[in-house]
Symmetry: C2
Subunit: 92 residues, 2 copies
């Protein structure tokens, strides 16, 4: 399935470390398309694996992660307004 994941990790409670773990796990499964946005084509098994890996690093009182899932990518059009850049390079 096609997924878009957006996250907002708080800086509180050592958030920088959580952010770094979350970023690296997302990067393993998906493409980084904007500061806090990833997209990818994942199987159900991959999605569960990713969710299990992310779970320990999401502080349920501080952090927000939203996953949009579409069975087929064609059901979801994507438009870029503004720059369309590889934003990964300067972060890792």
């Amino acid at each position: 399935m096609y997924v878009v994941l957006v996250y907002d990790v708080s800086k509180d409670e050592n958030g920088r470390k959580r952010w770094s773990h979350i970023f690296k796990i997302c990067k393993k499964y998906m493409s980084h398309i904007q500061n806090s946005v990833f997209e990818g084509e994942l199987s159900k098994v991959q999605l569960i694996k990713m969710q299990n890996e992310l779970k320990p690093y999401i502080n349920s009182e501080l952090d927000s992660v939203i996953l949009f899932k579409s069975r087929q990518q064609k059901w979801l059009d994507k438009e870029w307004w503004g720059k369309q850049a590889d934003v990964t390079s300067f972060i890792i």
Copy 2:
């Protein structure tokens, strides 16, 4: 149609001001569901209006705005991992 808009506005070149305009315009048309994420049900006309309003405030070399469009909301599942909060209140 159902839309999800994610933005990343640079702080450079008076970005705080651009950010504020972009936030307010998005808020007019959609619901704020995460730090830089909005979702909403828009007609084609509303989408064009919103795009025209946003255009002057998106710096095409610095800012990134991505719009995901689905003809029907049911084609897109949404899952929250972590907190699911009203994030608008503390910003405006």
